[in-house]
């Protein structure tokens, strides 16, 4: 079981790094897709099957498709060798390293963190987590769900308006 964990986390991290390092936006988008798949797998190892599936379904399926669509729409070329902004580079690396070192120090003395992942007994409720999560969402968090619905509606209207505004702005520019 731990072997799988290491494989999937390695996949996720390497492809995550590829996203950042890649010149070509399309290849970085695709590497992000793979990284998200790795992540979904990790969710599965944590017995959060519903979340794993949603991750694949929503993120990898919808979001990345949208990204690639936009990249193609705006046909953004491979990035030319613009002069590297060393200050930003240096700053970025420093902050990231500080973040990682701080994390390491913290996790060092985070006692509850050392507990091993126990395999679930057969027939434990966790396996029907989709049903349980569904119940939770539609009973305790019903109101939040409606809110979420409205939010998504607003987002779609926003996108429509933005793109349409775009149309009229073009006309005024010519």
């Amino acid at each position: 079981m731990s072997v799988l964990f290491y494989i999937f986390s390695a996949v996720m991290l390497v492809f995550g790094l590829m996203v950042v390092l890649n010149r070509n936006p399309v290849s970085s988008a695709l590497s992000l897709v793979v990284s998200f798949l790795g992540l979904a797998a990790l969710f599965i190892t944590l017995n959060a099957y519903f979340i794993g599936v949603i991750q694949v379904l929503v993120y990898t399926g919808a979001v990345m498709v949208l990204f690639i669509f936009i990249i193609m729409l705006l046909d953004i070329k491979k990035e030319q060798r613009r002069d590297l902004n060393y200050v930003a580079m240096g700053g970025g690396i420093i902050v990231v390293l500080a973040l990682i070192s701080q994390l390491a120090i913290l996790l060092g003395d985070f006692v509850p963190g050392n507990q091993q992942l126990a395999t679930l007994p057969e027939g434990s409720a966790v396996h029907q987590d989709v049903k349980l999560v569904g119940e939770a969402v539609f009973t305790d968090f019903n109101f939040h769900l409606q809110l979420l619905g409205i939010l998504l509606l607003v987002a779609t209207v926003g996108v429509v308006v933005l793109s349409r505004r775009q149309g009229r702005a073009d006309r005024s520019q010519q």
Binding site: G91, V95, L99, L106
Partner: protein, 609 residues
């Protein structure tokens, strides 16, 4: 309302009516002023009868402070009030003629009445506070009168100078009053007298107080350090000089010192200061007078020198003189000289005014000459006045100068200085008379001079009578006890009269028939360059210091603190603006940095607890 209050307030009433009502009709206002002066003179004759305090008005009282406008009549006041009102009336009458066709005639007479009001205020005052009030009012009225022809720059400068120098004197005077009030808690003269008898006060404080009060007298009576304003005050009309700068105002200082002789007696150091300043003034003024060519300037310096005499005499009050304290009698000598001097100096000034009026406002003696034949009455009265001033025996000058010299006779230095001054006085007066009256006329104006109208001659004649008779006992006996006058010993009177005659003869011999001044002593003519020294002093200390203060004010306080803080805040503002660059990454970077710092802080607090 007692008669004293009427005498005090009538001139003020006249001045206000002139200012408010009859401003547009000069002749009416002139008569209003003259009538008020005449009524005051008549009332003073009535007033000479009673004694002691006559009425008081509680002007200001708060907490423990009681300032009153209280009037009292003592021997001194009687003598002085007579001089003030008599000379005042005569000057008023003389001015009717002298200022007949002057543009600001109403303003002039209002100023004269205001002056009479302030002068009577000083004379009748029974406490220092009231005297200080009228001291300043007299300063203002002399400012108005000297600056009568204010269109002339020189007159405007002269009046400003007179007021400021007087103001410096008032500064000292007030300091002295405050010191006395602090020490004794008394302001009125009688109160101070009783306080002195009751307990002895710390002598250094008393000496300092008396020096300060003398400083007030120096300012008003133009003694040496503060005498520079008197010669310039001749810019004013001549009757003004006659009234103010000969008889009354300048004598106020001596009068005040005479009133507080008991204080001077209690402050020996201050007394010696007073004597020496008086003697110095007498000598210096006499020297300067010998070289002046303006008739009024000569008389101004002669007034200065006579004042020096009076101050010296008053300074002697309380000095032991061979066994018994001559005390009051010394200041009486000073006051006696003041009394006689008022008459013949006013006579000389009015005479000079008549001469100037006749020579169409010509003041330079070298452009006059041979006026004896042309203006007999003025000339004769002027000569009698000169004789009185020089101290020839029968006249009043002789008696009072003897009394003064007698007061100083045990102090050989001052005696010698007094004698020299007596000689010089006689010398410059005879110089003046020979040039102006004898010999031949030196200019067209002098040749056509004619006798002045009657209204100007009557005051001259009355004053001549005063000058002749003032010296005898019956004239001064009713306000100074003849017994208390210091008696000159031995040959002093004889020596003095010989010096007087010698001076006159010397003057006549040197100056008869000359067209220009044979003796040229630049130092005396230029008034020992004191004016220039003062000018420099004012320029350096006052204007220089003012300029420095202004620069400091602008640089230090305004620039550094006020603008400095303004610049600091705007500087901080622009510094912080740098952080608001539009760059996305820098925002993210700062965001990240903030997170790390917060985590770091949290971890420290967790681990440290």
């Amino acid at each position: 309302m007692t008669t004293a209050f009427i005498i005090l307030l009538l001139p003020l009433l006249a001045a206000t009516t002139i200012l408010l009502v009859t401003r547009t009709r000069p002749d009416v206002s002139a008569y209003v002023s003259v009538i008020s002066a005449a009524v005051c003179f008549l009332l003073t004759i009535v007033l000479l009868g009673d004694n002691g305090s006559v009425g008081s008005f509680a002007w200001l009282n708060v907490g423990g402070l009681e300032l009153k406008i209280a009037l009292e009549i003592t021997g001194l006041t009687k003598g002085m009030i007579l001089v003030v009102t008599l000379v005042g009336l005569l000057v008023h009458i003389f001015s009717l003629g002298y200022m007949k066709d002057d543009a600001g005639k109403a303003r002039y007479f209002a100023g004269l009445s205001l002056f009479m009001f302030s002068m009577t205020g000083i004379v009748l005052a029974d406490n220092f506070a009231m005297m200080f009030i009228f001291w300043e009012l007299v300063g203002v009225s002399s400012y108005l009168l000297i600056g009568h022809w204010f269109r002339k720059n020189s007159a405007a400068e002269a009046s400003k100078k007179a007021f400021l120098v007087n103001r410096i004197g008032d500064f000292g005077f007030m300091a002295g009053i405050l010191l006395l009030w602090g020490a004794t808690g008394e302001i009125s003269f009688s109160g101070l007298g009783q306080a002195l008898d009751r307990e002895t006060f710390d002598s250094t404080l008393l000496n300092w107080a008396m020096v300060c009060i003398f400083c007030g007298a120096v300012g008003k009576s133009a003694q040496v350090p503060l005498h520079v304003w008197l010669p310039d005050a001749m810019e004013g009309p001549t009757p003004v000089s006659a009234l103010i700068h000969a008889a009354t105002m300048v004598a106020a200082g001596v009068f005040m010192l005479a009133k507080v002789t008991f204080l001077i007696a209690a402050a020996p150091v201050a007394a010696s200061v007073i004597q020496h300043v008086g003697a110095l003034t007498a000598l210096v003024a006499a020297l300067m007078a010998t070289q002046q060519s303006d008739i009024k300037k000569i008389l101004a310096y002669s007034t200065l020198s006579q004042l020096g005499y009076m101050v010296m005499a008053v300074g002697f009050s309380g000095f032991v003189y061979s066994g018994e304290v001559i005390g009051v009698s010394a200041s009486n000598a000073g006051f006696f000289h003041l009394y006689t001097h008022a008459f013949f100096k006013a006579l000389l000034f009015l005479g000079a005014g008549a001469v100037i009026y006749a020579c169409h406002h010509e003041q330079d003696i070298w452009k006059m000459g041979g006026l004896l034949r042309l203006m007999p009455v003025t000339a004769i009265t002027f000569l009698i006045g000169t004789a009185a001033l020089a101290g020839l025996p029968p006249l009043s000058g002789f008696w009072s100068k003897d009394a003064v010299m007698a007061a100083a006779q045990n102090n050989t230095l001052l005696l010698v200085v007094g004698a020299i001054t007596a000689f010089l006085t006689a010398f410059y007066m005879s110089r003046l008379c020979t040039i102006v009256f004898f010999g031949k006329s030196r200019s067209v104006a002098a040749r056509e001079a004619s006798e002045v109208p009657l209204v100007m001659r009557v005051p001259l004649i009355i004053l001549t009578l005063g000058a002749v008779l003032a010296g005898f006992k019956f004239a001064y006996g009713w306000f100074i006890n003849p017994a208390e006058l210091p008696h000159p010993e031995g040959a002093l009177p004889l020596v003095l009269s010989v010096i007087g005659v010698a001076g006159i003869v010397a003057g006549y011999v040197i100056y008869s028939g000359r067209d220009k001044d044979p003796i040229r002593v630049k130092a005396f003519a230029r008034k020992f360059y004191i004016d220039e020294a003062y000018h420099l002093l004012v320029r350096v200390f006052q204007d220089g210091l003012a300029y420095v203060a202004k620069v400091v004010d602008q640089l230090l306080i305004d620039g550094l603190i006020v603008r400095g803080s303004a610049r600091f805040t705007s500087g901080m503002g622009s510094l912080l603006r740098g952080l608001q660059g539009g760059n996305l990454q820098s925002h993210a970077f700062l965001f990240g940095l903030g997170v790390i710092i917060i985590i770091y802080l949290i971890t420290i607090t967790i681990t440290s607890r």
